[in-house]
């Protein structure tokens, strides 16, 4: 029985493998996705650093690097649901739903897949940031921890995306909503400036925004060389659990 259960877990890994194989056939897509964030750091970052808009942040390019990684990875994770819209129109989802794999594994597996795809940005954007002068830690433990945290956080955003795809069903509506939520998600977080500079109402949004906690954790690990990330990780895990449960609950909608 136990063994059987473990065997089933392998299907989650299979979903991740699917994604990695996909990426290996078309790595260019992910590289092109990293171009915009690199410009953010290089142009926006250096202009803002010059005007010293946010003096409390220290070196500004260093400050925004974790935020810009998140901007890029979150957008990829949030867009992942379009894959399910495609698979709904094709027969893939029909086949998956009639396979012995439990439905919860579809949600967990695809979230992991989306999380992996999104986290590729970590590597590309970090290298670019260092190249334009960001002072990022070289401690491998911190770097690896940061990567893992980004994967976990991106899983939550992917689950959110699956949830949106299940409810909206068409690619036009889906892309519309994703476009509409990425902007506030990004600007109502501590990705580009500290929370203290925001008006109070937006501060509230920032505190329930899972991006804030992910940026916090990455900034602690990569910039401040600190391991004070317990609360942030807890918040991220909570976000994952909630978004996956919600996605699982609504998955049946995508079928009908």
């Amino acid at each position: 029985m136990m063994w059987q259960r473990l065997r089933e877990l392998e299907t989650i890994i299979a979903m991740a493998e699917l994604e990695l194989r996909r990426i290996s056939h078309d790595p260019i897509e992910l590289i092109t996705r990293a171009v915009q964030p690199i410009f953010w750091i290089a142009i926006f970052g250096s202009v803002m650093a010059r005007v010293r808009a946010f003096p409390s942040t220290g070196d500004y390019i260093t400050f925004i690097s974790p935020g810009v990684i998140l901007q890029s990875s979150t957008f990829i994770a949030l867009s992942y649901g379009i894959m399910l819209v495609f698979e709904r129109e094709s027969g893939v989802l029909k086949r998956l739903l009639s396979s012995p794999m439990p439905r919860s594994f579809i949600v967990i597996g695809r979230s992991l897949a989306g999380g992996l795809r999104a986290s590729t940005q970590y590597i590309i954007v970090l290298i670019a940031a260092v190249a334009v002068g960001a002072r990022i830690t070289y401690d491998p433990l911190n770097l690896i921890l940061g990567f893992l945290i980004l994967i976990v956080a991106s899983m939550g955003f992917t689950a959110m995306s699956i949830l949106i795809a299940s409810s909206l069903k068409t690619r036009e509506r889906f892309m519309g909503i994703i476009g509409a939520i990425t902007m506030p998600l990004f600007f109502a977080s501590n990705a580009l400036y500290p929370i203290s500079v925001m008006p109070e109402a937006i501060q509230l949004v920032a505190y329930v925004n899972p991006l804030t906690y992910t940026v916090n954790a990455l900034r602690a690990l990569l910039v401040e060389n600190s391991y004070a990330i317990g609360y942030d990780v807890a918040a991220i895990v909570l976000f994952d659990v909630i978004s996956m449960l919600a996605a699982l609950k609504l998955l049946h909608r995508i079928i009908e």
Binding site: E10, T11, A14, R21, D26, R95, S98, P100, M101
Partner: protein
């Protein structure tokens, strides 16, 4: 012993009303014997796919029941999923992976143990004659190769029941033939039950042991193709005489099992029961009344004729083509 009594598929009074209020199934019943090949044949929108999606546990019926080898598809869905191999009407492959990778991922999803995976993937690849293409991205495949790979996928878990939703849709005749050869080859080896939906008459006629005609969410007739053909009333006979058929009409009316469908001038079309045995009598009678036959054509009744006789409608091919076009377009958009 259980398998002796239970049907491969048993459907009773199945009703499905979709969210938008569309009544796709209206109390449909049918049963399929283990080991048989059973076709459901019907025009677009008849409810074939809806039935199949309920049988494969994707959709829950509004009312009525369905079971696979005695297992209820709603209450025991997870057990049912282990018994079936399914090919959806639409493309169900990841087109940005190779054929081999698709099978490998699906082998894991179907829970095939790691030590047997490689062998099984190799086995189905060579069975479907896809070995050479297996390392190419699926988006470079032809329609027939797509379908064969999807069937290969469904075969990996060695299912007791294969459920195929229009397995040859959009393929040219020779690709259709190959696909069917492969299905039959597999069936012979593993004694699988095959249940398939189609709107190609000839396919149902050629490959199915039993055919259920489905119209507007109901089965109107289930029988072996030969018997269904008989429902058409007999074979189609066309005669062209050397003069007006007026003189022949009374004579023909006397022949038992003959029905005149159309007449004009020297031409006459009729339905004749057992045409090949009755025809000599007809010819003799006409000749002895001084009527010469200039042309004669006999066409055996098809399932299409039976369908028309039973429903007054035909299984429109034009619509089929439009639909194929749509699904092809979808495919292209996805592949791009």
């Amino acid at each position: 012993m259980e398998a002796f009594f239970t049907k491969a598929i048993e459907v009773r009074d199945l009703v499905k009303i979709y969210g938008g209020g569309v009544k796709a199934l209206r109390g449909l019943s049918l049963s399929v014997e283990e080991g048989s090949i059973h076709a459901i044949l019907g025009p677009n929108g008849a409810g074939k796919t809806t039935l199949i999606r309920i049988l494969t546990t994707q959709l829950v019926p509004t009312s009525g029941s369905a079971s696979i080898f005695g297992l209820d598809v709603v209450k025991r869905a997870s057990e049912v999923r282990k018994l079936i191999g399914y090919v959806p009407q639409e493309v169900s492959l990841w087109t940005d992976l190779t054929g081999y990778e698709n099978l490998l991922i699906y082998a894991k999803i179907y829970g095939i143990p790691p030590e047997r995976r490689k062998d099984i993937v190799e086995e189905v690849l060579s069975m479907m004659e896809l070995k050479e293409a297996s390392n190419r991205l699926v988006k470079t495949y032809s329609g027939g190769m797509f379908r064969r790979l999807e069937i290969a996928c469904a075969l990996m878990a060695k299912p007791r029941l294969m459920i195929l939703d229009e397995p040859t849709i959009g393929l040219d005749p020779s690709a259709r033939k190959t696909v069917w050869e492969k299905i039959l080859e597999y069936k012979k080896e593993y004694k699988t039950t095959v249940f398939f939906a189609t709107h190609y008459m000839d396919e149902a006629e050629k490959y199915a042991g039993e055919v259920s005609l489905i119209v507007s969410g109901n089965v109107i007739e289930t029988a072996p193709p030969d018997e269904l053909r008989k429902k058409a009333g007999g074979d189609r006979v066309y005669l062209k005489l050397d003069k007006s058929i007026d003189g022949a009409r009374d004579l023909l009316m006397k022949v038992e099992g003959l029905k005149i469908v159309r007449e004009s001038g020297e031409e006459i079309e009729m339905i004749v029961n057992g045409a090949l045995t009755v025809l000599p009598t007809i010819i003799l009678a006409l000749q002895s009344n001084g009527l010469q036959i200039k042309e004669i054509r006999i066409r055996e009744a098809t399932l299409d004729d039976a369908f028309i006789a039973l429903t007054g409608k035909r299984i429109a091919e034009e619509e089929g083509n439009i639909r194929e076009l749509i699904s092809e377009r979808k495919m292209i958009r996805r592949g791009a």
